[in-house]
Each structure stands twice: as C-alpha cells, then as structure tokens.
C-alpha cells in the first residue's frame, strides 16, 4: 500500500493521503470506511494529549507453543510498533473522562488472545474501581486460535468484567467497525449498553465463508453489514465517522449523572 496514495479497501480507488485524512479516512468514491490503526482512532476521538496508556508492555506468551505463532507476533510488533492488538487507557472526550480501548486490525486482525482479553478486563475493572464509563472501539477477526482454549476463555473473562462494571451503575459504549466477528462479537462487543457502528462494517458471529459452506447458498444482499444488523435490532445507532467523537461525548454527558438516586439497588 502506498503511504502517500493509500487504496480504498473496497473499491480500490487511490486517494491522496492528505485528502483522505481530511475525510476521516472515508472513501469519497464508495463511502467505505477504511480500517484504521489504534493511534489514528485515538487522535480522531480523544482530546489532544489526554490519552494515558495502560499495560503497554504486556505481551503474548505462546501458551500452546503453537507453530509459527511466536515469530508472527515478533514480526507484527516490529511493523506496528505495538506489543499487542489492543491499546487501552484513559482519556478525555470533550473534557469528560473515560477509559478507552481501541483494537488495531493490523495486529493479526485484532484477534483476541490472552493479552487482548486481559487488557480489556483490566480497563473495565479500572473503570469500575474509579467510577468511570468505558468505551471500546472494536474491530476483530474473533478468537485467536493460536492461543487455543486460553483465547476462548477471554470471552468469559471480559463478559464478566462488563457485568461488574454495569453492576456498579457504569456504562460500556461499544463502537463496531469493519470487521467485528467471532468471539469478540459474541462477548464484549455485543454487551455495550449503547452499541454504535460505522456504516457497512462486517459484523457477525460466523464468518461469511463458513456460513456459505454450511448452507451451500449465497448470502442475502447486505448480510452481516451494519445496516442489516440495525434492521435486525442488534445496534443502537449507525454513526458517521466524523460524528463519532461528538456522539460519544454526548453519551458520556448523558451518563455523567444519575437523575434518580432513590434506588437502593446501586
């Protein structure tokens, strides 16, 4: 991919990087929302210099000694300058403090292994302990099969952490971007109190190829895309990328106070 003229991931049109950046990395030709690395997301959403990183040094341990896994991780650490597929921390958005996590699709399609699960869990626990809301910008190919059962268990671990956050009366907002699939969709992604999505993102449990193989027929038009999920009741809102910061700020603001405190529940 040319760094100066990156291609749209859908229609393959090349765009001058400065224009693309101005357009929030949305293709002016086909409207496709280009996949973004974690730091770009942070820049687009968080208040300047407000981001404080958590657990930057946490790394995978290849618990199964899975063929080629260790090498692949090392390689990705070099190319992405990240240690794993999720960046977590705290930040402010229009002055409102929140914990904030972003998955980075360059890192093994941001599949969830032990590190992704642990970092997200710690972030949610930090929110619960410090009375903060939580935001997760999600993209993921699902579970990281190279970590086998440890990967699967991250689904239970992160879901339990969302429950504990909610039980303290605090919200999780999730933003689903292209692609959000597998074990990540089937855990924290679908557990947002409010679930936002970018348009035309692939969102689902099973991958389209697997489904096609199973049922032996083609998918209906728009199947597993954001608009389809919205129509089927799975999403709260589609949000344009350039509105994302502003919508998240409004969500934080609305959830920043409890109007009714008479409840003995919390």
């Amino acid at each position: 991919m040319s760094k100066l003229f990156p291609k749209c991931g859908k229609c393959k049109t090349s765009h001058f990087i400065a224009f693309l950046k101005h357009a929030h990395y949305v293709c002016s030709k086909c409207g496709y929302h280009l996949r973004l690395d974690a730091l770009t997301r942070i820049k687009m959403i968080c208040d300047k210099k407000s981001f404080q990183f958590f657990d930057e040094n946490m790394k995978s341990r290849d618990p199964l000694h899975f063929p080629n896994y260790e090498d692949r991780i090392k390689e990705l650490m070099e190319t992405t300058k990240l240690n794993e597929a999720v960046v977590t921390g705290t930040c402010k958005i229009k002055g409102l403090t929140t914990t904030f996590g972003v998955m980075d699709p360059r890192f093994m399609m941001a599949s969830m292994g032990s590190v992704v699960g642990e970092k997200i869990t710690r972030m949610l626990e930090y929110s619960a302990d410090n009375h903060l809301p939580a935001i997760l910008i999600i993209s993921s190919g699902g579970a990281r099969m190279q970590e086998g059962i440890f990967s699967l268990m991250q689904m239970a671990k992160t879901s339990a952490a969302v429950k504990r956050l909610n039980d303290k009366g605090l919200p999780l907002f999730t933003v689903l971007t292209d692609p959000t699939t597998g074990g990540v969709t089937a855990s924290f992604a679908m557990l947002g109190d409010v679930i936002l999505a970018e348009s035309d993102a692939l969102i689902g449990f099973a991958g389209p190829r697997v489904i096609a193989q199973t049922i032996g027929q083609n998918m209906p038009h728009g199947f597993q895309r954001s608009e389809f999920l919205l129509a089927h009741g799975m999403l709260d809102m589609l949000v344009e990328r350039r509105q994302m910061r502003s919508v998240l700020a409004t969500l934080l603001k609305i959830h920043s106070m409890r109007a009714y405190t008479g409840s003995a529940e919390v």
């Binding site: 909610n166 009366g169 919200p171 679908m190 109190d193 409010v194 919205l230 129509a231 089927h232 009741g233 799975m234 999403l235 709260d236 809102m237 919508v247 409004t250 969500l251 603001k253 609305i254 959830h255 106070m257 409890r258 109007a259 009714y260 405190t261 008479g262 409840s263 003995a264 529940e265 919390v266």
Partner: protein
C-alpha cells in the same frame, strides 16, 4: 378540549386520531436536548412503530419512548400506523431497563390504535411481550411518566402505560377496545360506533373522574395539531413538575405507590 361546550365522545375520538397531531418525534424535537435515538430489541428487530432514546429534559437526563405514527401514507405504512409488533415492546423494555441501570427517569408517549394483530406478531409472542412489560414496569426502579398524546388503544397502549403518573391531552382517548371493535363484537353493527364510543367512557374527562389518570393537559385552541410547539411546551411543564416530585421519593416509596396506584383500580361489591 374547550370546557365551554360538552363535546361528544365520538368527536374526541376523531380529534385523537387527527393525522396532523404531533407525533412522539415532534415532541422530542421540542422538549429534549441532545437527543440520541436508540434502536433495536437486540433479539429480532427494530420496530419503527415505537421510537426511543435518551437526552436531556431541561438538565435532567431522561429516557423517552413512544409510539410513532407517520405524517403521510408512506411513512404510516413504514410505521405501521403506530401499531407495534413484539419487538417494539421489547425495544421499549430494553431502553427502560437501561434507564433503570443508570438512574434515568422514563417518559412514555402513547399514541396507538393497539398492538398489531398479525401472524408474525402472534408467532413472536405479542401477548408475552405486553405481559412482560407490565410485569417489569410495575417495579422498574426509576420514575415513569406516561402521557396519552392521541389514541390509547388497549393492551398496546398499556404496555407503555404502567407509570407513576399518567396524563392525557384533552382531546385524546384511552380505551380497552376501539369503538368500532366494541360495536362490531357486541352489537355486530358498525353503525353503532358512536354509541360504543359513548358507552366506553374513554375520554380524558371520564378517566380523570374514574381516577385512572392523574391529570389532563389542555390542548391549545383548536387542538394540538394547530400548534405543535405550544402543546410541547405544556407537556414539558407538566413533566418537569411531576419529575420534581417523583425524583425526591426514595425507591421503596416510589414502587409502593406505583403498586397501589393500580392496586386500587376496579369496582366491585362484597356484600
């Protein structure tokens, strides 16, 4: 309703169904700041016949939900004339449970001919959806205020109507069955619709007398459809005044009063 003349029930039925009356989204536009519409029941679908979302009423974060009719034929087809399917009631309940979790009061606008009587609605449990809303709303741990802004049609209205305060606009109706349905079932004669409207005692005035509702919000001269903004302002005033009372109650008191509110409804003898 103009107090100077005694309108017939059948006229009020007509006014309550006036196609130019403000809809839920109209009211939201006037009274809620920072509104975000939220969609879906997270199970099956997003029913356009019920809308809901969050925002600020003055400086109070609220969840606001309501039946949504269309402004024209095309939109009415999409909105199914405000007749919800089970997924509509389940979306409403999902939003109310979110409201409970975050201590937001709930405001419901009711304007529906009734729950949709169709094959898919039955298949997906129309009865269960309504029943479960009644069950859950009876102890939802935040204040609930419901306002009938047009037609309050039967169980499909009540599914948004279990509340701490229930108000009706002056030219609206709230009834166990439509006058047409009543005439057709009871007298097998749709010509008797006017008689049925009268017999059912379905006007705001009747229901206030019966202590089923807590107050009537008067419509501006000529009806709500003549001045949406004015009507919205009157609703906002009522909501703020009711909320200032309700928000000060502790949870046990709130829920006991809500229970007692419905507990005392009914007329019988025990001699």
């Amino acid at each position: 309703m103009q107090d100077t003349k005694q309108e017939k029930a059948t006229d009020i039925v007509r006014l309550a169904r006036h196609t130019k009356r403000p809809t839920t989204l109209d009211y939201i536009k006037f009274i809620i700041n920072d509104f975000l519409e939220l969609h879906g029941d997270r199970r099956y679908g997003d029913d356009p016949a019920i809308v809901g979302g969050i925002g600020f009423l003055k400086d109070i974060p609220v969840t606001i939900i309501g039946h949504q009719k269309g402004k024209n034929v095309k939109e009415n087809v999409r909105r199914n004339f405000g007749m919800a399917h089970p997924e509509g009631y389940r979306k409403a309940l999902r939003l109310m449970e979110e409201a409970e979790r975050f201590g937001r009061p709930v405001i419901n606008f009711i304007d529906t001919p009734g729950a949709y009587p169709g094959i898919g609605a039955e298949e997906r449990g129309q009865a269960e959806a309504i029943a479960y809303n009644l069950y859950k709303m009876s102890s939802l741990a935040v204040p609930i205020i419901s306002i009938i802004t047009g037609e309050g049609g039967s169980g499909g209205a009540l599914a948004l109507g279990v509340a701490d305060r229930v108000y009706m606009l002056s030219d609206t109706i709230y009834s166990v069955i439509s006058p047409e349905g009543c005439a057709s079932i009871l007298w097998r004669d749709s010509a008797k619709t006017d008689d049925a409207a009268e017999a059912l005692k379905l006007t705001a005035k009747d229901l206030l007398e019966f202590k089923i509702i807590d107050g009537i919000i008067n419509e501006p001269a000529g009806g709500a459809q003549k001045d949406h903004e004015n009507m919205a302002r009157r609703i906002k005033t009522t909501l703020l005044s009711a909320l200032s009372e309700l928000l000060s109650l502790d949870c046990r008191t709130l829920l006991n009063r809500r229970y007692d509110r419905y507990r005392r409804m009914g007329k019988f003898t025990e001699d």
